[in-house]
């Protein structure tokens, strides 16, 4: 029985007779798959057209890599921008947003402790503090001990430049005027640089 396309289709559709099914299955079990596909010669004009197309770029010399400063500059600038963006993102993520605070200490003798996310404040007697979270501007009267929990920069009324405050350090912040127009900000370890009368007052207040 000749195995052909129509018979194979009927076999797959389940429409063969028992004889036809047996014949197909016997054919499928054979190791040979019939005649090989005949190789026919390609028409000469087709081969010529293909070679012409290939030769348009196959004959060109391989490009030589050259150092282009303009390109390199652009790449370097991009890298720097990427680094800066990364640093900014890291800083934004690693530095918690500043929490504002507004407090007064009316006690004539006791220090008031304020513990918020990002920093601690020991507010001296008869002193007050207002820290604006959005602007980072600190207004105060009297004196306080500021302990940042991470590196930060604050602005102080009366000072043109921001002040960098380091984590792990304690800073004495005081002013001889109220509201503060000329604040003094020093590391607590530099208390001996102040006049002795101020040293004693601050050392006693803040147990330095």
């Amino acid at each position: 029985m000749e195995i052909n396309k129509e018979l194979l289709e009927r076999y797959h559709q389940g429409n063969c007779t028992a004889t036809e099914r047996a014949a197909v299955e016997a054919w499928l079990q054979e190791e040979t798959f019939g005649d090989e596909v005949p190789v026919t010669d390609m028409p000469e004009n087709t081969a010529a057209e293909m070679w012409a197309e290939i030769s348009t770029f196959a004959d060109k010399p391989a490009p030589v890599k050259t150092f282009n400063f303009y390109t390199f500059g652009k790449m370097a600038a991009a890298a720097v921008l990427l680094l800066l963006a990364g640093a900014f993102l890291y800083r934004s993520v690693s530095q918690p947003s500043l929490q504002g605070v507004s407090a007064s200490n009316f006690s004539p003798t006791e220090v008031k402790n304020i513990n918020v996310a990002g920093y601690n404040v020991e507010l001296a007697p008869n002193s007050n503090i207002k820290l604006d979270a959005k602007t980072g501007l600190l207004h105060f009267c009297g004196s306080l001990l500021f302990s940042p929990k991470s590196d930060m920069e604050l602005s102080f009324a009366g000072l043109k430049q921001k002040v960098k405050l380091k984590t792990g350090q304690k800073y004495i912040v005081l002013s001889t005027n109220c509201p503060s127009d000329k604040p003094i900000i020093i590391n607590e370890k530099d208390v001996y640089n102040l006049p002795p009368v101020m040293q004693r007052q601050l050392s006693t207040q803040f147990s330095i």
């Binding site: 004196s143 005081l174 001996y192 640089n193 006049p195 002795p196 007052q201 050392s203």
Partner: protein, 410 residues
Amino acid sequence: MKYTGPKSCNLLFSLCLTVLVSGILCGCTPGTDNDQVEKKKYSIYILGNEHREYIIQTDGFAAGNYKPETDGVKLNTDIIDRDVVIRDGFYYHLNGRNHILSKYVKTAGELKEVGTLEIRNFIVENYYWIARDTLLLTGLDQKTFTNSWYYKISVGDLKLVQSGLLPIPKPGHGFTSTSIGLTTMLDGKLFLGYTYHKQLDASNYTTSDTAYITSLSYPALKTLHTDKDTRSTYPGGDNTIQNYSFNDEAGNFYYMTCPGIALGNRTDLPTGIFRINKGADTLDRNYFFNISAAISNHAYGLWYIGNNKAIIRCERKDLYKDLNDHWDVAHFEFYVVDLLKQTKEKLNLPLDRGTRRECVIAEGDKVYIAVNSKTDGNYIWCYTPSTKSLVKGLQLSGDTDYIYRIDKNF
């Protein structure tokens, strides 16, 4: 020829073994070299970067270059600060936190505590060596700063000999605290210089317009006489930080008043030099060297260099703004003043930094001046008064930010 090979080998082997064992023993003994006490002629107290502090000792200031991180010992700043009293190679410091007066020696590895004495509720304002082994501390109670106390201490074994209240009146009439700026013995009597302060608000103060000089019998400590002087105020200062007085060759006592913003905060009054003549119970009312009139500024620090001449350290109010930058900005100048002629001569030194520092030593025909310049570095300068020669000597580099103090150990 006699054969001696094996004997030589044995000797060589023994020598090698001895050297090896000695080396191992020395190497295994912990801190042997570091425990060796150093007692060189001078002590240098350094403030490094990031608040690190060091002490270096040296036998001379004339030349050289020291780096505190390699040539000195690093200090534990939780227990010691620059308000130290130094004598005979020992360092004495009262820690206000734990109320312990400690005695230290410098070894190659550390400032080592060798004695302690508990002194509670007391801050040191002044010290005076009554004898080579007896230290007198005067100061105030640590809570109100109104009661004046003294402690007499035998430093050999660090034992308290005597202590008590000084007969200095407590502040009144609105004044809230006291400062003792002078403590000295003159002809067997104890002289104290002091004044009073008024707290204006939580962080502002002013000082009385009057300087008080009281003479006391010793050791009974009964008041003999009190001078009140309104020509200036804040007599002397905390002499554990800086010197403000001296005796000349004739035994006359000179002291400086400090009404500037770094001490008295009475800038309307002049800085002046005053005198108590040898044998006198009272102030020499005829002597007043108006320093502010001479230099148009205030000054802090007075050191005698001999032959009626002294060095003063003067601020430049045109260069600093306020207390915020008074320490950091280089604005201090040094002058040689003639105490009798009342003349001045500026030393050609770079502008110095640091509000109050113990920075001058006079010895023989030399004067050593520690200068913290922002442009020229940190140097001990050598001044020769007779020739007026002024040259750079020992440099402090490396981690040095400020030379806090220089002292004679002996």
